[in-house]
Amino acid sequence: MTRAFRVILVLSMLAALALSGCAKATPAPTATQPPKPTSPPTAQPTVAPTPKPTPVTKTVVIGFTSSKTGSQEVPSTGQTRGLELWLEQVNAKGVTLPDGTIVKFEFKTYDDESNKERVQQLYTKLINDDKTNFLISPYSSGLTDAAAVIAEQYGQIMITTGAASDATYKKGYQLVFQLYTPASRYLTGAVDLLAKLDPTAKKIAIVHENDKFSTDVVNAAKAYAESKGYEIVLFEGYDSGTTDFAPFINKIIGAAPDAIMGGGHFADGSTFAKQMYEKQVKAKFIALLVAPPELKFADIGEAAFGIIGPSQWEPQAAYSEASAKAAGVQWYGPSVADFVSAYKAKYGEDPAYHAAGGYAAGLILQKAIEDAGSLDTAKVKAALDAMDVLTCYGRVKFNTSAEAHGLQVAHEMVYIQWQKDASGKLVKQVVWPAEGKSADAIYPLSR
C-alpha cells in the first residue's frame, strides 16, 4: 500500500513540476482601466455630426508598482490614490496631440510588497511584457532606486514620486525625474525653525533609519546644523524594521539634547515616537521624518502631540495662479482647493502629501506630453528638462546637469506639528515657513 502511495506521490509531483514548467506565467496585473472608450465618450453633446475625420485614439500605458502590503503600505496607498484621481480626470478628455491624436492613459500596476527584489522583477515585466510607454516609481527611495536602474537599462522615462533620496540622481541616469524635494532639504527647515523658536537651544540628537533616504536627510541636516553652530550630541542609525528603540532612547536620555530629530519611515517613526512618550523622554523639540504628516500618525494618541514633521505638501498650501504670476512662472493644473475637494469627494478624507505627490506625477507627465506634442521618449525628455511650472503641488523644475540629472530643484518643504483643537482632538497645523503657517509652533514640549 505504501509503495503504491509513494509512486503516485512522486508521479504527481513530477506532473505538477512538468505542468508548471510548461505553464505560461500569466500575471494578473491589477490594471486600473478607465471606462474604456475607443470612440469618444457617449456624454458628448453632438447635435449634428460635423464632417470631421474620426480622431485616432491612442492608449498610453503607464506602469508602476505600489506597496499594497508590507511596511510601506500606508503612504503608498495615498500615492496610488492621487495617481488614480489624476487618471480619472485626464481620461475625461484625454490629451490632444498636434497631429490630432487623442491620447488616453491606462495604468498597469502590481503589488511590490514593499520588497526590492519584487520591484526589479515587476518593472522588468512591465517594460517587456506589459509594453509600458512611461513609468512611475514605487513609493519610497529604496524601492525607487531599484526601479530606476531598470527604467534606465531599458530606456524608458520614469517620473519618481514618494522618493526623496538624492543618491539616486547622482548615478548618471538621464531618464529619471524627481518630483519630491530632495532628502538633503528635508530637515534643514526644521533646524531653521528651531533657531527661530529658541536661539539658546544648542544640542541636537539625531537617531535615524539606516536606509538611503533617511541617511541622506540626516547627513545633510547634520552638516547644515553644524554650520549654524549646533552641537550634534548623538548621531546613530537603526536598522530598518527595528521595533525596540530602548537602547537608542537610553542614549538620547544620556545625551540630554534640546532637540531630537530623525526617524525614517512611517512604521518605525510611529513606534519611535510612541516609545519616546512611554519613556517620557525630555526634549523641547522633536522632528521626525515621513510619519507625522500621515493622518494615521494620530493613532498613537498622546504620543503624537507636539511632534513636528516635514511635509512635501499640505492642504493649507498657498500655491495659486496669482502667486505663479507673481513669481513669473507658468501655472498648470487645478487649484489646491479643487484638488482637495475632488480627492475628498472620491475618497472621503483629506489628501496627505503622498497623494499630492502621486497626483502631481501624473500631472507633470501629462504636461510634458503636451509640451512635447508627442509620445516619443526623447521629445518628452526634452520637455521635462525644460519644465518650470507651478502646480497645486508646488513648483517643479528638474536639474539638467550631468552629475545630478533629474534632481528636483524648485520644490519646497513645509513643516507641520500635531496640536489640539478646541475639542481636544489632535490636528495637524502648518508651523513653518512663516509665509505659509496656519498656527504658531508649540515650544517647548512639556514632558
Binding site: 502590503t69 511596511s71 537602547p247 537610553n250 542614549k251
Partner: protein, 285 residues
C-alpha cells in the same frame, strides 16, 4: 554614565527574561529529542497574532488571553509533532531540521497570505514607574513576572509530576524509557507541545511591547539560538540564564558603542562558544 548604564541594564534584563522564556522551548525540544526546531520563530509569531486577534476582535486583554494561547499552542505543538516530526525522529538530523523548517515556511506562507506584512500593534495602556534614572514600563514588569511564573510552572511539571518524569526519562535514554513502559510518542509529543507553548507564550508577551509582522519571528529565532548555545542546548535553566545574559549584553553594549554592533558581537560570541565550549556555559544535557 552610571545612570544610563543602570537604565539600559534594567531594560535589557527585563527583556532578557522574555527572551529566555522563548528559548527554554527551543532548549527543551533539543534536550528531549535532539531536534532543532526551526519553526520556533514562526510559533512565537503565531502567539503574537493570536494575542492581537483576541484583543482586536473580541477585546480580550492580552494577559487574560494568555491561558487560552497556552492551551492552543500546546495542542498546536502536538499537531506539528504528530504530522511533521514523528516520522523522521530517528532519521539523520538533516531530516528533522528540514521538516521543522518546512513547517516554518508553511506558517509564514499562510500567515503572509492571511495577515499580509503590514506591521501590527497591540495597544494596551502602559503605566510607568520612575525609579531614579530607571523608567520601568508596566508591560515589561508584568511580562517578566509571567515569565517567572511560567518557568516555575515548567519546573513543577518536570520535577513533580509523572508526565514530567517521563519527559526526563525519555531525554535521558529513550530506549530504556520505552523498556520501562513509557510511551515515547506521547512523551515526545508532550515535550514538543511544551516547547511550542513556551515560544507562543513569549510571543504573546512580546506583542504587548513591540509591533510585529508575520516575518518578525526570524529575528527572535536567531536570538534564541544564541541564547541556547550560551546557556547550553538541552538545559532549560541555561536558556533562562542565557536569555538574561543576552539581554544584559544588549543593554550594556550600546552604551559604549553604536547599537548596530550588538548583532555582530552576539554572533561572534555565538560562533566562539560553539567552537570553544559547544556544551554552553552551563553544560548541555
Amino acid at each position: 554614565m552610571t545612570e544610563q548604564l543602570l537604565a539600559s541594564l534594567t531594560d535589557g534584563l527585563l527583556l532578557g527574561f522574555v527572551y529566555g522564556l522563548a528559548s527554554m522551548g527551543l532548549s527543551l525540544i533539543w534536550g528531549v529529542m535532539r531536534v532543532i526546531n526551526l519553526a520556533h520563530g514562526a510559533t512565537m509569531v503565531l502567539g503574537m497574532f493570536a494575542t492581537y486577534l483576541l484583543f482586536s476582535a473580541f477585546g480580550i486583554h492580552p494577559y487574560v488571553a494568555l491561558p487560552i494561547i497556552v492551551v492552543l499552542s500546546l495542542l498546536f505543538g502536538f499537531l506539528v509533532y504528530a504530522t511533521a516530526v514523528h516520522r523522521v525522529i530517528n532519521a539523520p538530523y538533516l531530516s528533522t531540521l528540514l521538516a521543522t523548517f518546512a513547517v516554518n515556511m508553511m506558517i509564514i506562507g499562510i500567515g503572509t497570505a492571511v495577515f499580509t506584512t503590514t506591521p501590527r500593534n497591540v495597544d494596551i495602556p502602559v503605566g510607568r514607574i520612575q525609579a531614579g534614572p530607571v523608567t520601568l514600563l508596566s508591560t515589561r514588569l508584568v511580562a517578566t513576572l509571567i515569565a517567572v511564573i511560567v518557568t516555575a510552572g515548567l519546573y513543577l511539571l518536570l520535577y513533580r509530576t509523572r508526565p514530567g518524569k517521563a519527559i526526563r526519562a525519555v531525554a535521558n535514554n529513550r530506549a530504556a524509557a520505552r523498556l520501562m513502559g513509557i510511551s515515547a510518542f506521547r512523551t515526545l509529543a508532550l515535550s514538543f507541545g511544551l516547547g511550542t507553548m513556551l515560544a507562543a507564550a513569549a510571543g504573546a508577551l512580546i506583542a504587548t511591547f513591540f509591533p510585529f509582522t508575520i516575518l518578525s519571528g526570524a529575528g527572535y529565532q536567531t536570538k534564541g539560538f544564541v541564547i541556547c548555545v550560551l546557556g547550553g542546548l538541552g538545559n532549560p535553566t541555561g536558556a533562562l540564564i542565557g536569555g538574561l545574559i543576552l539581554g544584559a549584553l544588549e543593554g550594556i553594549i550600546p552604551v559604549f558603542m553604536a547599537v548596530n554592533w550588538v548583532p555582530v558581537i552576539e554572533f561572534v560570541l555565538f560562533v566562539l562558544i560553539l567552537l570553544v565550549k559547544p556544551s554552553g556555559l552551563l553544560g548541555a544535557r
